[in-house]
Amino acid sequence: MKTNNSIAAHSCSGKKAKTTLKYFGWILLSAVIVALPVKAWSQASPLYQKCLLCHGRPGFKKLMPDGKVLELFVNKSELEHSIHAKLHCTDCHADVMEIPHLKVPGKVNCYRCHYKDNPNGAKPANEFFQSVHGKLVTENDPKAPHCQDCHGGHNVQKVDSPLSTVNHQNVAYTCGKCHKPQYDNYIQSIHGTALLDRHIKSAPTCTTCHGKHLILKPDNPASSIYPLNVINVCSKCHENKELIRKYNIPGGRISTYKESYHGIADEFGSVRVANCSSCHRAHLILPESDPRSSINKANLAKTCGKCHQNANVNFTKGKIHINYKSKSNGILYYIGMFFEILTLSTLTLLFIHILLDLFRRYKSGEIRGKNKRGE
C-alpha cells in the first residue's frame, strides 16, 4: 500500500511538472520570437532607423536660402562600418530634437565625448586647441578644420584602419583637401612616391614632419618644422641606421651638416642659416639625379642663390655634405690629415722641448733655488 500510494503521489507530481514545462517552453519560444527581430534590428541599424527614412535616400539634399545646396545623404553602410556604429544619431547631432527639424542642425561637437581625461581617448583634443588649426576654430574661422574634417564624419575609423581618412597612407590626401599646392608637391616627391606608389610604410607623410594634433606654424619655436627643429625631424629617419640600410638612403647627411658652417650656426640658434629644407625643399624633395630636384647640379646655383647673392656654377664644383674623415673627399681629406699630423707633431716637439728645458734647469740647480743664474 505504501508503495502504491507513493506511486500515485509520484504520478500526480509528474503531471504537474509536465504542465509547468509546457508553459515555460511556450513563454521561452514566444520570447525568442519576439526578441529575435528586435535584436536583429538593433544590430543592423541602431536607433538611426528613423533618421534614415529621409537621410538614407541617395541624393537627399536641401536648397538653402543663400543658394547653397546642402548634401544630406548619409551612407548607411559607411555608418555601420565606422567606429561609431553603435551610437545613436542624436548622440552626436545632439541639437536635433524634433522631425522635421525647426532649424538647421549645427556642427557636431566631438568634445562632448572626447574631452580631456576621458579614458576613451581625446588627450589630443587638448593639443589640438594649441595648434594652428585649433586656434582658428576658437576664432570661429569658417574655414577652420574641426575634428571631423580630418577624421571623417559618418565614416570615422580607427587610425590604423586602412579605411581611415587619417591613416598613414591616406592622411596626405586628407590634408591636401585644403593644402592643395603642398599635396601636389608631396605626391611628386621621393617621400610621396615611396609611400603612395611603392607602398613603403616607413616613408613619411604630412604628419610625420608636421605632427598630428599639435601642428604649429613654421615661425613658432615650438613647431617641429621651426628652422632650428627641422634637423630633428629629418634625423628621425635620416639618422636611423636601420632605415638607411634597408632603403639604401645616403647616410651621414645630418652629421656632415652639423660639421658645416650652416649646421654650426643652426646649432647655435641662427634661424637665417640654411637648414635641410632650405636646400632640399619642404614638400618637393627629390634626389639629386632628378632634373626637377632643387639640388640637381643644374638647379643648385638657383637654390644657393636664395641666400648667396650672385651664386653661380662655382657652387656646383665641390661637395656639399663633406665628411672630412672620408678619403672620398680627396684634397680635403689629405689637407685635414696633414694639419692633424702637423699639429700633433708640433705639440709633441714643443712639449719635449719644454721638458728638456725644465730638465736642464733642474739639473743645473736653477729651479731648486741654489746657484741661481749660475752656469
Binding site: F268, N314, K317, I320, I322, L332, F339, H353, L356, F359
Partner: protein
Amino acid sequence: MNHSVERLSKNQRIQHIILLVSMIMLSITGLALKFHNNSFSVWLIKLEGGIWVRGLIHRIFAIVLILLSLYHLLWVTFTDEGHKELMAITPRLKDISDFFKKLLYNLGLSNRQPQFAKYDYLQKLQYWGVVIGTIIMVITGLILWFVNQSMAILPKWIIDVTMLIHGWDGVMIFIVLFLFHLYNVHLNPEVFPMSKTWIDGKISTDRLKLEHRLEYDKLLSDKEDENK
C-alpha cells in the same frame, strides 16, 4: 749689477699689446667655432653673444690685426728702428747650429750653452711663425668673410679648403703663441710667472748676459765706444 737696458721700445710694446689682445680675442672666438662639439665651446659662444655676435667680434679684431700687420710692415720697411729689428730677427745659419748646441746642452751632453744675439732661434721661430700664420689667416679669412664675392670666382671646393686651412692655421698659431711663446718668454722658471719686459721694455743686464750674450757684448762695446 742691477742695471737694466731697454729691450723693447715703446712703439714695439704697443704693437705687442695690440697683437696679443687681437690674438686672444680671435682665438677665443675662432677656436670655439672650430671645436664646437663640447660644452666649453658652447658656453663660450653663448658668452660671446651667440653665433652672430661671435662673428662680429671675430671680424672686428681681424680688422685690428690687419691694420697692425700693415703698420708693422711699413715700420720694418721704412723706419731705421724697425729695419734694424727686422735684421736682428731674420733667421741665419747660426740659428740651426744654436738649436743643436742647445739640444746637446739640455740633454746634458754638453756643458756649453750657445750664445745668442738679441733674438735666439726660438724667438725667431715664434716671430716668423706668427708672421706666416697671420698672412695665411688674413688671406683665407678675407676669402671666407666675403664668401659670396669669392664664390663668384672660386669653386666651392677651394672655399672648403680655405675653411679647413683657416681653422687649422688658427690652431697652429694658438699652439705657437699660447704654449710655446708663453712658456719660453713668460712661464719658464727663470721669469715665472711673467717677464715684465713686455710692460716696461727693460731687461736686466744679468739676464741679458745670460740669455743673449752676444747682444750684451755688443751693447758693452757700443758703450765703450761712446765713452772713448
